[in-house]
Symmetry: C2
Subunit: 344 residues, 2 copies
Amino acid sequence: MAQAYRVAILGATGAVGTELLSLLEQRNFPVADLRLLASERSAGVSRTFGGKSLTVEALGPHSFDGVDLVLASAGATISRQWAPRAVEAGAVVVDNSSAFRMDPQVPLVVPEVNPNAAATHAGVIANPNCTTILMALAVWPLHQVQPVQRLVVATYQSASGAGARAMEEVKQQAAAILADQLPPTEAFPYPLAFNLFPHNSPVNEQGYCQEEMKMVNETRKIFAAPDLRISATCVRVPVLRAHSEAINLEFSTPFAPKRARELLGQFPGVRLVEDWQANHFPMPIEASGQDDVLVGRIRQDLSHANGLELWLCGDQIRKGAALNAVQIAELLVAKQWLGVPTPV
Amino acid sequence: MAQAYRVAILGATGAVGTELLSLLEQRNFPVADLRLLASERSAGVSRTFGGKSLTVEALGPHSFDGVDLVLASAGATISRQWAPRAVEAGAVVVDNSSAFRMDPQVPLVVPEVNPNAAATHAGVIANPNCTTILMALAVWPLHQVQPVQRLVVATYQSASGAGARAMEEVKQQAAAILADQLPPTEAFPYPLAFNLFPHNSPVNEQGYCQEEMKMVNETRKIFAAPDLRISATCVRVPVLRAHSEAINLEFSTPFAPKRARELLGQFPGVRLVEDWQANHFPMPIEASGQDDVLVGRIRQDLSHANGLELWLCGDQIRKGAALNAVQIAELLVAKQWLGVPTPV
């Protein structure tokens, strides 16, 4: 008897929600029933799944009745409020927001990296921040073999990180600038088209923004390496989709680029893109819509005998968010770590 | 008796040449006579200087007759061929190309950093690469006080770095993409609008591209620190003008961010842009057209007790190229390191 699950997508009309919907279909996730949830504002909109039209419902007290699995991507405030209710109603929540990521009771999971952490869940499993997921995939295969001593990263983050409206705004800004008009700035504090700026999340006392601290703290948690030394500089760039990262790694002994290439080349979820002759390396337009994180430009660090430089691009909405969440759900199903399934 | 000089701009119609022309005027450089030189293709075009129209001449054997100072920005091949002839004709050449930068006989000068190096010139003075100049200005004030042990940089380089045509192409690409058409790619190997890619200069055996090696080698030469440990990752981003850099510095003892701020805040050519409350830091649109390099986000490196993180944006065409060249010329005039001036 095949098993299927009653699934709800919370934040179904957002950039990540839209991707969650199509991934569940593309990957044949065993869906017995699908409920699309969003704010009042988006309620009534329809979406297609498995050839059927579904109407988006406004989130409410009974939204999670009879639901086995919630894929939540509606922001930390909504998750803090509603995830506990979904768990109470018997669902397991894979939460894409930052609400529970650093909660010691909540596993923070990248399925290729720390799948077993998911076993310990008590109803909520957190999906890491996009930049963290992408970096974890590129660094873990090396860290596993030879622990990273220090990591310095600079990011190049696309508009998609701020949602579907932000992606649209960047296009509108570009059109305005090309027409010699003032670019609109609603989703972002400054024009992003033909410009860039340090990530606009709030800054802490040490001068690091939230996005940077996510990379530091979440990577430590995923790697179970609470003392791993990490520093990050997060920057928004006028790319529509897919983030890039320049990563500098230090080990305690030299790490041959050739060995790093071998390890990364065979790691699931990573694809090496390194054509030195053609000067062809990972680019956002080639990472967009892809499941794999593209890694390349693996080089011996000229400034440190034990250093390694690498470069990655990954689809922020896909592996950086929706795909990782669906993979967590698949892991829960495969390991039978989800609640009691509904026989079909 | 005031002194003025017979000046030639080589590559007068390019992005940097255009800026050289306006800087000579804005800064009241003592010009007795101005000759605009370019390729056959651009000859006959006219430009305005000091209210007078000047016709661009094709570069030829007599172009440098009677010229005191050549500001050259027509690429390394042209410079290698023509700079020696200009020197033979009695001119001093401030060369913006990479042709002579690493020549031990040729000073490589950022006037705020190593002005005295210019004294030793034998006819040619090299203007460093744009990314190097911007970084040198932000790092030297600290290095002077406490030598940098190691420097890791990731760049965000605008289209202007590839010239005026490239800036135009990025706009055309953006317009094409907004209209769902294929973007043209002539100046660049890949679309740059809404995309980014590692710098497309040729890659060496260690995997570093020329642009990265310029940052390594030129910084060492300018700082007279031949063993300074530097690693760089250079990336082109869809910004029209002004480069950005995320710089990680290691010292042998801690360097307080407060002290770094004080030093940078009072250094000529640097402007601190750091509003932590408003999340306002250097951005390309605010650096464009500015003489100063904007520096901010000075933070204690979370991953290293002796580390410091900083962020800069600087106008690549201005301080990164034309302004630095004119400042070198001004230095030569002020110190009387130029050839015999013409009485006016």
